[in-house]
Amino acid sequence: MKRFLYIIFFVFWPIYAWSLIEVDITRGNLNPLPIAVSPLSIDEESRKKFEQILNKKNIGSEISVIVEKNLKTSGLFNPLDKDAFLQAPDIANLKPRFEDWNLIKAQALITGKVNLIDEKMRVEFRLWDILAGKEMMALAFTTVPTNWRRVGHIITDKVYERLTGEKGYFDTRIIYVAEDGPKTKRIKKLAIMDQDGENNKFLTLGNELVLTPRFNPTSQMVTYLSYFRNLPRVYLLDIETGMQEVVGDFPGMTFAPRFSPNGKKIIMSFAKDGNSDIYTMDLENRVVEKITNHPSIDTSPSYSPDGKYICFNSDRSGYQQIYIMKSDGTNVKRISFGKGLYGTPVWSPRGDLIAFTKLHKGKFYIGVMRIDGSGERLLTENFYQEAPSWSPNGRVLIFYRETKTDDKGEGFSAKLWSIDLTGYNERLVNTPTDASDPSWSSLLSN
């Protein structure tokens, strides 16, 4: 026996002794990644032509500024000061001197060039890994010169996806309700803008009250609610063509029409016979189907990305809480159990989280929870804020917040704000007027 043990020890000792040392790295930093965005190089001839067409002195620099701003806004990147760059844009685009970029602590570098070819803008860009000394990505786009802002957003999306592992959200638009005038006589117009607040356009004149615009996840179609002769009407609006149609008149209080994930149905709540329930309408045959049938008030339905489930808001437990159910209305299950009232649940495009508004002790919170109700996190708190809408990648929420503008609390201002899932990156989204009810589009370049 002793001998046997000796053999075992003798044989295994070397394995034990020579096993490779392993070190587990389970923590890192969440600091924004230092990135250098070199201005896109441009030849003199193209520069002059672009200046004539777009009235921009150096379109290469302008595009790089858009990329830089987008990356900074995301909170995940730290674009470095251009004054520190040692290499000229045209040379950097050919072959960056990695030592120079390393010197200013850049970990990634974006270079590129822009030309005018046959009246079309051709933009090339490259993403470089400075530490590895390698090119990570190289792409080129051709478009009409007036699309130069979109080119900047598309470049950002590509860089963002390559460096973070998830799709970007920069080549997107936000539709919202633009508000003006005193609270008792508020003018509300439908408005649309790029996600960075640029290219703002009003879509309606403000003669009728408009509410809750929502993007179709698969196209640039919008559904919204408007009152016509004091009757709520659900409209469909094609952003590309400007064509508009009435989906239907609905009795009583109608709330928040929203598209199904495939864009073929609309789901909403409206009151019939004094009771508010959830209904769907097939947009092809206009058949309305009742999904919930409960004496309580059921509102704010939102589909899961796979279309199999619906989350909604109900007071069937006595207080306003969040529930989920199968898309046919069965298996209703309450998921929110925290203190306070919960409303406006919206399913994340990633499918993993539900965003909501919470009212507790007189304060409004925007938060997220997992789809089983666990892991509730309140991202932001304020006097009044609601209506979160997800960015198409499920990382950022946009919502509106009302703030008092005088000491008496009589004046107020409503603005759009965005916050990412960390809860640290909260930003005001610039709009020309007051704004509410934002809805984020899917990626335009998809």
């Binding site: 053999i7 020890f9 003798f10 044989v11 295994f12 000792w13 070397p14 394995i15 034990y16 002794a17 020579w18 096993s19 490779l20 040392i21 392993e22 070190v23 587990d24 790295i25 389970t26 923590r27 890192g28 930093n29 969440l30 600091n31 990644l33 995940l76 970990q107 890994d129 530490l131 590895a132 390698k134 990570m136 963002y160 996806e161 390559r162 460096l163 973070t164 592992g165 998830e166 990633r350 993993d352 990648n393 990382r395 960390t422």
Partner: protein, 253 residues
């Protein structure tokens, strides 16, 4: 002998050899992660050639495990350790009790001047013997510690350095396996001679695009941290190192 050589293979789980796919962005060596058979053989041969006493005298593995890095004898400590047993052996128990009652001066007087030479001779023999034994044990223990891996403080220092360098990509799906294993060959100064992603085949699997992003971030961290904070001695034990980057803990919050 065959059994001895084949057992190391049995001790390791069989590893699927991933197809080698060339990736533009990440260096992939031709090496696989098949474990150390040639090395094991070499070591077995070496050990057989060496004195067999070394194995028998060596503290059993459990004891070696208990030796904490802090207890690794420094050169100064060695001298102290040697002195202690010397005193014990020189002074039998009876004298020991007496010694406790007297001062240092009185202690000297306890010795018979005539017997001092004999005592010195004896003590020399015993001291030499003790030193030999202790040195052997200490060397063995030292060897074991060197073979086991990094001490806790060495590992902590390395971890702390890499924590600061690793920017975790925040877009990763946190319900996926977010472990990247990177094998490093290091120079004595801690710079990286070669790095190899052990699960590189995963990068090309459908739905695993995030893994490439994660692996690149880990490689960036290593490059940013160079030279790695490795111990100044014992190059042999850490010249090859495996870093397991796992982002799950951070992303799940």
């Amino acid at each position: 002998m065959i059994t001895a050589l084949s057992l190391p293979f049995l001790a390791k789980k069989p590893i699927d050899l991933p197809p080698i796919v060339s990736i533009e962005l990440i260096q992939i060596t031709d090496k696989t992660n098949i474990p150390y058979a040639p090395k094991a053989k070499k070591i077995i041969d070496e050990i057989k050639e060496k004195e067999k006493k070394l194995v028998s005298e060596q503290a059993p593995p459990k004891k070696v495990k208990k030796i904490k890095p802090e207890s690794v004898p420094l050169p100064n400590e060695k001298v102290e350790k040697v002195k202690k047993p010397e005193e014990d052996k020189q002074n039998p128990e009876k004298i020991d009790t007496e010694v406790k009652q007297v001062s240092e001066f009185e202690k000297d007087e306890l010795f018979d001047p005539n017997n001092i030479a004999a005592l010195i001779d004896k003590s020399k023999e015993e001291t030499a013997d003790t030193i030999n034994k202790i040195d052997k044990v200490t060397q063995d223990q030292q060897k074991n510690i060197e073979n086991i891996g990094l001490s806790l403080s060495e590992e902590d220092a390395l971890k702390a350095q890499i924590f600061g360098c690793w920017s975790i990509p925040l877009g990763l799906p946190y319900n996926e396996n977010l472990l990247v294993r990177i094998k490093l060959q290091l120079n004595p100064d801690g710079t990286v001679l070669q790095s190899e992603i052990l699960d590189h085949a995963r990068m090309n699997k459908p739905g695993q695009g995030f893994y490439k992003v994660l692996a690149e971030s880990a490689l960036r961290a290593i490059k940013l941290c160079q030279p790695l904070r490795v111990p100044t001695t014992g190059y042999e034990r850490w010249k090859e190192l495996q870093l397991n980057f796992d982002a799950r803990e951070m992303l799940e919050g």
